[in-house]
Amino acid sequence: MSDIDFSILRSERARALAAYVLESVDATFAHITSVSMTESFDLVDLVLEPQLPQDRVIPILNREPVRLFFSVSDDAAPSVLSLRADFPTGLVHTTRYSFMKETFLCVWEEKWQELRRSLTAQALIERLRTWFTRTASGELHQEGQPLEPLIPAASHTLIIPAGRFPSTWHVAAVSESDGIYTVIVREGAVAAEKVPLQFPIFFVELPPQVHGSLKSRPYDLQELRQLVEPSDESFLAGFADWLLLEAQLEVADKHALIVVLLPKMREAGGEPEQTEIWAFSTNETIGTIGELLGYTYNEGKRARLRVPRGPVGETNKITLFGWRVVQRLDRSAARRLAGHASQHDRRLVAVGAGALGSNVLINMVHSGIGPWTVIDDDLVLPHNTVRQVQGDWAVGLPKAESAKAMANDVIPETVVSICGNVLKRDQAINAAFSEADLILDFSASPAALGNIADDVSVKRAASVFFNPDGTDLVILAEDAERKLKLDEIEAQYFFAVGTARVLDGHLASARLDLVRYANACQDLSRPLPPWQVQTLCGIAAGKLAALTETDSSLACIWRLNPATGETRFLSLKIHDVHRHVFGGWHIAVSQAVLADMRELRRRSLPNETGGVLIGSFDAARRVVHVVAALPAPPDSRQTPTYFIRGAKDLKPYVDGLSARSAGSLSYLGEWHSHPDAAPAKPSGDDEKVFQYLRDNIRPSGFPYVMAICGSNETWLRAGWFGNSDGEGTIGHSTRASPGVKPGNDA
């Protein structure tokens, strides 16, 4: 090593490398065998000792000789050339430069400007050693992988449409930066004057190849011919025909782009399973290629047909430069890149394209989730643009239409829109509802929620809304079998809001006189910063994306602290319900109500006990939800033969529930227990209680319910102005039966 003259090295980087190898205290597993120079490069030959397993997928040796080309001006990453004559170039990532015959190793994936920031001498040696290690283990090049997945990021790029490959190829746009071209192609023709830099495209499809049979891509026109001609003798003739088209003849000074499709099959004679695509530019102009093939001669910037044809020259002189080919995203590719679990599309409906709907929609479309139907009958107003995805351009346009346009800009053909209102159904809305896998209600309208819950054609629904302050996000979702309907989950959510300390203040600023959970986004008097909307919408998009892949119901709340950005997650327990359908109306009793009554009864035995029932109702849809049975107030009288409910502290407590739930929860009636010996049927006294409820409540228009909890079953009777009373029993032996339990029409 002493006879190596390191002083000839001009590149700082080469000198640093030499210093590392020569002076390192610890083993470098590298030694330099010689150095030399060209006009613009310092060349360092070294032998590397990578760490290698005994069994190797690619035959890398314990000692690999390489030559490093250090650009004296340090304007490019060092090129790495294997000095081993039998280096398995066909098996590993390699690249060829037009100006050199040798094959270089594709070691760098980064751009030089990024790489140089951290590329110390040791990092360079270690990168090379690691490259050999990974190559030996087969990590860098696996069967079925494209031959050149690691075309340097700095190469020219061809962007092609999503989905199937085009049958005709037209350049739609070309841009150039630092000598690197990005060319966008599409299937339909483009007016020539709209494309400033022209790249005529010649397209060829190779015969199907068995996976792995092709070890290397073609590097010149001759190699390409050798690949194609065994099965398609007319390749060159086809290329000539293309060259002789007027479109090519008149641009003889341009460089052609050759696009090659390579269908791949698992075994010989099988069906092609996937198609690899290559794109090449050539070192010669179209005119020069035509001359070399003997078809044309050049006259200025134009080529002319040569008659008779000249001899075909050496086609290996037409070098092919590999381009990076990038396919536009479709939903499936977007899902893969977004890390979304499903391979499949899900049909979704968004009800509402306001702040919440538009943001969640765009986010989910970015993840490839869809297709969608967006329903909204509102127009974009100037103030909407603060919180919605739409900008000033969309003011005055329908929200659904403008959100659709933006979403389809993200991934084409993903969203259709309906300018309509779910509460005023038309055929289009009904069709969208019945076809959807999941309806997402972003309307912040309890009426819309109820409407969706009642629609038996719906497969599954979820409702997403903010609390009035815009700090909390709520997602309520049905299970995939729809054992629980959205409104039943909503009623339980209200009870949680009414009772759970962790939800203090959740609905505190709701306007009790107008709506139950006010739509924060529509309330102009309360500023709501876009970051808050987007943060919560981002969370919603993530949860809803996951929801499309799971079956269970859920009720979740995220509480954002606007001062710190901290978000607290709460998952509410949801209980199954027992439904009693009466003529024209129905009542749903949560399993929690039954469980509580039975437990309170058991603790009081042999005495009777009781209390009041709490719940919500929808007078328009004629639905009553019983969500809680409260224990007996302390001044109640509990004996083995009767129960008289007291009233101590009861009203403030129920008023509190009502206030905390934005007026949703209210008193619904009375319950009491019967001892073991007595059936769960109303006694004479009990009939008087029900009559008392009827007299006092019925005229006011509220529903009223009486329940008797016995040892084996619970009996209930309910009434509502304008309807006949209903009566039914719920057996205790049955565990939470989620299905509809027919009641008796009284």
Binding site: A27, E49, Q51, P53, Q54, D55, R56, I125, S137
Partner: protein
């Protein structure tokens, strides 16, 4: 992944095997370094061992292939010995099972380290626990009868050549140890030749169906290896002499390869040629536990001619020949670590960096 570790301790042996399930076997312990010589590049073996053990105070098996100093130096300072209180304190490393050749018990007139280890081996053998003795010469039975012990009662502690050691099994440990030598006759002559009565073993590791075979050949001479090959072939046990890793015998001494040293390259005895050239598997590695190999003509091993042979053979196999005092480089040798995995063995080649600096103490700052 299992690991096999050889230490740079000059012309001396110590090989630590760590199994995926955490069990360990140590073959020989010879802490050769001269702590007063700052130019001594041999490692502080006790420290290296304790670092690897990471606080553990027991090794499942410690084998002393024979009782030469270059195989057991300072063992009595480091290990907890059952036979005398002065070798018992909390810091010492306990030996769950000690493996020794019968000669280690039977040899007479020994002194120093060897005498202490003989006392330990005899104690364990007489007590009937914590020991495995290799080969059963007649003298061993006599040794027991002299002490009023029925030899049949100690039979379970003795392994004959050609058997597997019961301390490890493939299902639980992913490894089995097959003992090739010593034979009984090695210790039944008038004069016991330590080197030839030493333990010669093959360990077969298995990871996801890939077997990796390690031969540990101590200091046996070529005649003994010839005999081992003959016997193995006689029993059609050729697979038991295949190797992916070969700790070549006696620090690359020509006497363990053939009768003549040779000029450029030692010519192996016939059976040894078969052992190295036919039985080495693709990518196999030979390891010389020895000093740096120079081109100087020397009496003591390592002999460069012998090393040249191993080097050529492993190159032909697509493998490598590694000298412990030259790895990873002669002026700063470090323990040689082989990982045993589903792709066979991998020599760990970790280039030093700040990771090495922060994993050791910094020099004193003024």
């Amino acid at each position: 992944m299992h690991t096999v570790r050889f230490f740079p301790i000059g012309n001396a042996d110590s090989c630590l095997i760590e199994l995926e399930n955490g069990r360990r076997a140590l073959f020989d312990f010879a802490d050769m370094r001269d702590p007063d010589d700052s130019n001594d590049k041999r490692c502080d073996l006790e420290k290296e061992l304790r670092d690897v053990l990471d606080g553990a105070k027991e090794i499942d098996v410690v084998a002393f292939t024979h009782l030469d100093t270059d195989h057991c130096k300072r063992a009595k300072d480091v290990f907890y010995l059952e036979h005398a209180e002065k070798y018992q304190d909390d810091e010492r490393i306990k030996i769950k099972t000690m493996w020794v050749p019968a000669s280690a018990i039977l040899e007479v007139g020994v002194t120093g380290q060897a005498r202490t280890l003989r006392a330990e081996a005899r104690h364990r053998f007489i007590e009937g626990k914590g020991i495995r003795v290799f080969s059963r010469p007649e003298k061993l039975d006599q040794f027991l009868r002299d002490r009023g012990i029925d030899p049949a009662k100690r039979r379970n502690l003795i392994s004959d050549a050609g058997t597997l050691c019961p301390e490890f099994n493939p299902e639980h440990d992913g490894v089995e140890f097959f003992v090739h030598s010593p034979f009984a006759e090695h210790s039944d002559g008038e004069l016991i030749v330590r080197n030839d009565s030493a333990i010669f073993m093959q360990a077969t590791f298995s990871v996801e169906g890939r077997e990796t075979k390690l031969i540990l050949s101590a200091d046996v001479g070529y005649e003994t290896i010839e005999e081992i090959v003959r016997v193995t072939k006689y029993h059609n046990n050729e697979a038991r002499l295949e190797w992916d890793i070969n700790n070549v015998p006696h620090h690359s001494s020509y006497k363990s390869l053939g009768p003549e040293k040779g000029k450029e390259e030692t010519t192996p005895a016939e059976n040894l040629e078969w052992l190295y050239e036919e039985q080495g598997r693709k990518g196999a590695i030979a390891i010389s536990t020895s000093d740096v190999i120079t081109e100087d003509e020397t009496t003591q091993p390592p002999h460069f001619q012998t090393a040249a042979y191993y080097r050529r053979v492993t190159k032909d196999l697509g493998g490598d020949f590694i000298v412990t005092m030259e790895h990873p480089k002669s002026d700063k040798p470090k323990p040689l670590i082989l990982e045993i995995g589903k792709s066979g063995s991998t020599v760990r080649k970790f280039a030093g960096s700040s990771a090495t600096i922060i994993s050791t103490a910094a020099p004193r700052a003024g």
